[in-house]
């Protein structure tokens, strides 16, 4: 027995650490200046999958869609205990909204054995929490969102506790099923030292290609770069360190539903939230200052 788990993860800008420089002069977000992180609740989804595998057997595969730089969190997942990592990268997937993203991810998940599909509750860059439920619909499997605790699991059914804001529900669901996991569900295990030693060298082919190009320098013959990249990929593959890399063709995705073309939502306008600052009335922290403030609030009927 055992359960095959697929965990969908995202490499996101750390929106909790946005600083002044992170906004460009035109008021748009300067993504380049933001540190990138493993989306926090995806770590809880990964931990849940690893806990199931460790207790009941099976496997854990992680999938991320993004630029080759997202290889970083695939490596981290391997270090934390994942068995397999897949980088889904394709320029034609750029500018996908949640619908197109869920379509593409569902095509990838279909290529992997899955009794359980796990996602973080939401990603901190968009906070939409939409991709999980949309994937479940595309996969034709049920979903349980806001999962806080796994209570039971047998061959056909899972029992979980989910948060509903002002309380909780205990739900039984038929497998295969998709879960979105909350940060309160568990404490993600740290990467294991032994696994770090092994997997820090793991690379996806797109990362290898970039490293090969850097190694040979800007004047190198493109064929030589390709040959070097292939050589390096072969070496990694031999040691089990080549991260799977899939394009939209590899997952048989219909391009109609991918990227900007497959995305019904369009941005009309972006405004940055500018801290005005200095426009409030300052009252000194003295009896006199406080009296003046209270008098004013009573005067305009705000209090009293």
């Amino acid at each position: 027995m055992g359960y095959d788990c697929v965990v969908c993860i995202k490499y996101v800008p750390d929106t909790q650490r946005v600083t002044g420089e992170a906004m460009k002069e035109d008021g748009t977000v300067n993504r380049a200046a933001l540190p990138m992180v493993f989306n926090p609740e995806d770590l809880n989804a990964l931990e849940q999958a690893l806990a199931i595998r460790d207790a009941r057997g099976g496997s854990v595969a992680v999938v991320t869609m993004g630029a080759p730089a997202a290889g970083e969190i695939l490596r981290e997942s391997l270090c934390r205990g994942a068995d397999r990592a897949v980088l889904l990268t394709d320029r034609r997937a750029a500018a996908s909204d949640t619908l197109a993203t869920s379509y593409i991810l569902s095509c990838a998940v279909k290529k992997l054995p899955h009794d359980l599909v796990l996602c973080g509750r939401q990603a901190i860059d968009g906070d939409t929490a939409q991709v999980g439920p949309q994937m479940a619909e595309k996969l034709g499997i049920p979903q349980i969102t806001y999962v806080e605790e796994l209570l039971g699991l047998d061959a056909a059914t899972i029992r979980v506790r989910r948060s509903v804001g002002n309380g909780f529900e205990v739900i039984d669901g038929d497998l295969p099923i998709l879960l979105t996991v909350m940060d309160t569900a568990n404490t993600p295990r740290p990467p294991a030292a032994k696994r770090i030693m092994k997997y820090k060298k793991a690379r996806a082919p797109a990362e290898v290609a970039r490293e090969a190009a850097e190694a040979l320098g800007p004047d190198a013959d493109p064929d030589a770069v390709t040959a070097e990249a292939e050589k390096r990929c072969d070496a990694l593959r031999g040691r089990g360190l080549l991260i799977d890399q899939w394009s939209l063709d590899d997952i048989d995705a219909d391009l109609t539903w991918c990227g900007a073309r497959g995305s019904p939502t369009k941005v009309h306008r972006i405004q940055s939230v500018i801290l005005a600052g200095g426009q409030y009335r300052e009252h000194p922290p003295t009896d006199e200052g406080v009296r003046e403030l209270v008098a004013e609030l009573i005067e305009d009927h705000t209090i009293g």
Partner: protein, 346 residues
């Protein structure tokens, strides 16, 4: 996906639980009314459940012209599969131009699956909706009278306006508490459209084994004055000051996420992106630095008084009045002044 239908109605999903409507659908109806009037189309509402016909009146009183009622024992407890089927069938049949859902745990579970099944767009957690025109970059075509779906994004650092001009309906979830709840008008009349729920062959793969909900003990949304404390309050003992100030003002007590995480105050009191959104007449922020996530929950307050010992704290950017100082010193002075002021008046 349905085609663009300019005559399509505006719809609001009427979330109910155990036969009771929450505030969200009613808030959405007042916004929906505004959008429907602007577009000169009827406002419809979708009521799914079992033995819920009694709720139609309240929906009509809050602005609905039509209530699409699907009453079926299989819809008594929410589950995405059944609700999705009924809603998708209704959308295909009536081709509404807009469908709104509350951004509640249920709405955020349901709406994405409807969007996925319909291959249409969905914008999460909107804080405002407007009607306007959109010209796609590089195109001469102007799409008139679209729903502008306005929401904070990127951790609240930007405000994005999203449109969906080709694959309809235009759908959005809307945060609880951001749309004003208007008073019901019991003289309003509406039509109840009974809809058969075609659920044969729809697998119901989930079973609710237990459900525990405790009513929110704190009604921050109704409070005229809110006194809120953050991490800067320092300790649960110091948080007593927040309660004292609230008591003498007849105010409700709130906390930032940091204050809740530190155990100073219960989660029911949390204001901000993951808590309640409030719009009181006066919001007194004590020892709250004012992270974007917090400001998202209180930025609509009519007046904000910030008390903080850090003059650079972002909370001052949304404040109308500010006191830079130690709150353990300032709050007792405030309490003393308010009490003496009240004494003078009586």
């Amino acid at each position: 996906m349905i085609d663009v239908n300019r005559q399509g109605e505006v719809w609001v999903f009427a979330e109910q639980e155990d036969g009771r409507l929450s505030d969200v659908p009613l808030e959405l109806l007042s916004k929906g009314r505004e959008l429907a009037d602007r577009l000169a189309v009827p406002l419809g509402t979708l009521l799914l459940g079992h033995n819920v016909e009694g709720l139609c009146e309240a929906l009509t009183a809050h602005g609905a012209d039509k209530v699409y009622l699907a009453d079926d024992p299989r819809l008594e407890h929410y589950q995405a599969a059944g609700y999705r089927r009924v809603i998708c069938d209704l959308i295909e049949q009536h081709a509404p131009q807009i469908v709104l859902y509350g951004a509640t745990p249920l709405g955020r579970d349901l709406a994405p699956t409807v969007a996925s099944a319909m291959w249409c767009g969905l914008t999460a957690d909107c804080t405002d909706l407007q009607i306007g025109d959109h010209k796609p970059p590089g195109s001469d075509e102007v799409h008139k009278n679209l729903m502008f779906q306005i929401r904070p994004a990127f951790g609240g650092n930007i405000i994005a306006t999203i449109v969906n001009y080709d694959r309809w309906p235009q759908m959005a979830t809307v945060r609880e508490g951001v749309m004003a709840l208007t008073d019901p008008d019991v003289s309003r009349r509406g039509e109840v459209v009974r809809c058969a729920a075609d659920l044969d062959g729809v697998a119901m793969p989930l079973k609710v084994i237990d459900s525990q909900r405790r009513p929110k003990r704190v009604n921050l949304k109704a409070a005229r004055i809110i006194v809120a404390g953050g991490a800067g309050v320092g300790s649960k003992d110091n948080f007593r000051l927040i309660w004292d100030l609230a008591n003498c003002l007849g105010a409700a007590v709130a906390g930032s996420r940091a204050a809740v995480d530190l155990g100073f105050v219960d989660h029911d009191h949390q204001v901000g992106q993951t808590g309640t959104t409030v719009r009181p007449a006066l919001y007194i922020a004590c020892g709250i630095s004012g992270a974007v996530q917090h400001r998202a929950g209180m930025g609509e307050s009519a007046k904000v008084l910030a008390i903080n010992n850090d003059p650079e704290a972002p909370i001052f950017s949304v404040a109308h009045h500010g006191i830079v100082g130690d709150l353990t010193d300032v709050i007792p002075r405030l309490i003393k002044t308010v009490r003496s002021g009240a004494a003078q008046k009586t």
